[in-house]
Subunit: 298 residues, 2 copies
């Protein structure tokens, strides 16, 4: 079996460059700082962090490509007897300064398993992208989703609705009966099957990756100059607490990364810069803050 | 079998009153706000929160007493076939304003299982108390531990060292190879056995509970007026992030509470008021901030 290791690794590295250059131009003030790191068992990564920007208070656009032997726990989780693996991906999280600009998360990844002779025995793609606003604007949701819907619809029917609902189910804070954000796409284990080739899924995931900037940046541009004050920042910090709760309680990538001794600082770059936990904070009835909560409730 | 349900419930409620009155006097500014809540399956609790005090920026001293049927998952976890239970406890977390005053956590709890006839078939005690400073003072550690050691030593040899090391093992952020705090005691499943009666463990846990104020308050008194600035607050917020990481990634009480549909706001009162996550924050070599890290490394 021939996988997409080389092509996908090239894709994530090119996409990282493209996204970082664009975000720096949008920010106009801060630059990405790069940290290269190596993994003991094989491979490594390129962590790029932006801090204290005019637009982005904190963000990371990271790539990694690691290989070697899977821990027993992961083999069990993946229900496989093969232990030689390769995994690579791009992960990004952006926490804007202005509370009217939503936080965004995206991830594009690829996984390969090998037999003892080093032959590829299985491979699959995964990823997604979702929006977490502090104030709800229907227009932003529509734009963010429509760009991704266009990519899906070009490639086949049902793809959009299928991965849209997986996203809603996944990014959910069960203990608060509240979605983390207002949606996006989420997909995993995209494999060659009777219906679709490996090339189809490669095209699907990379096309979505190349459209990330188009889906998010216009939202940033139209909100980044809205005036805000302490009230909006306070609310932003409260909501960021919910983001932390999801990432540390439920997010598989985060928990998997920490359990498998990934690079802690690269994994936890997803956590917001400043966060607040008030006891039982309830927004005023009829306020813009309450409007967001209503959009996040099922 | 006769358990300690009535006696232990009285103990936690009395202790809650005693601790809250003392902390209010120490704070001199803020008062505890009380929320009574009821649990759908049986029982409820008394949540008491202090906020924006002169000494305590945020804190909770909560009691709960719940009963009913255990979820399957908990029965599995406890390796029991009995599903009727009673559980009660006091949980407190105090996050002081002044970064020179350590955060403290304590918990005293009691659990009973019943057969179908309503007879007690098993019961046990648990709890502990541990200190999480932002700056390391050997004196504070010594005082906090020595009060608890005196209680243990009065009741038997080895008790102190046994539960002291359980605490070190438990409050540990594996992903950072760093202890959450500088220690305390931690014990669970304290049952009547050949060596000790149920009354012995009742006496052990309640004595430790009654000594909580003596172990912590002198530390507060001697640090609460030390002058601090932005640098110390910044560090405090960074360190509080590690506290959040432990509680959401590892703390059994928190995860168990959220999974069993406990009252979210009462459980998450443990999270600090304001928190900061910087990418790869490393304190200056030789600084007081680095000194704390060295005290937390194994």
């Amino acid at each position: 079996m021939k996988g997409f290791r080389i092509e996908f690794e090239r894709f994530i590295n090119d996409l990282q460059d493209e996204i970082c250059v664009t975000l720096e131009a949008t920010d106009g003030q801060a630059r990405f700082q790069e940290d290269l790191w190596q993994r003991e068992g094989g491979g490594g990564g390129r962590t790029r962090i932006i801090t204290n920007g005019a637009v982005f208070e904190k963000g990371g656009v990271n790539t990694s490509a690691v290989y070697g032997l899977l821990p027993e726990s992961v083999m069990k989780y993946l229900k496989t007897d093969f232990s030689h693996f390769f995994a690579c991906g791009l992960s990004l999280v952006l926490h804007p300064l202005n509370p009217y600009v939503p936080t965004v998360h995206a991830n594009y990844r690829y996984f390969e398993l090998y037999d003892d002779a080093g032959e590829v025995v299985d491979y699959w793609f995964g990823g997604g992208s979702d929006l977490t606003p502090y104030y709800f604007f229907e227009d932003d949701k529509t734009h963010f989703l429509s760009v991704q819907k266009a990519v899906c619809d070009r490639m086949g029917p049902n793809l959009y609705s299928r991965y849209r609902s997986v996203c809603d189910d996944y990014f959910y804070n069960k203990h608060r009966s509240e979605a983390r954000g207002i949606g996006g796409l989420f997909y995993d284990y995209l494999r060659a099957d009777k219906e679709h080739s490996g090339s189809f899924w490669f095209e699907f995931v990379t096309s979505l990756g190349h459209k990330f900037i188009d889906s998010y940046l216009p939202v940033v541009e139209r909100r980044k100059n809205i005036a805000y004050g302490e009230r909006q920042r306070y609310w932003q910090e409260i909501r960021r607490g919910r983001y932390v709760e999801f990432n540390l309680l439920y997010d598989k990538g985060t928990l998997f990364g920490l359990q498998t001794k990934g690079r802690t600082e690269s994994i936890l770059m997803s956590l917001p810069p400043r966060v607040r936990w008030d006891y039982d904070f309830i927004p005023e009835p009829g306020s813009a803050e309450e409007e967001l909560l209503l959009a996040l409730k099922r």
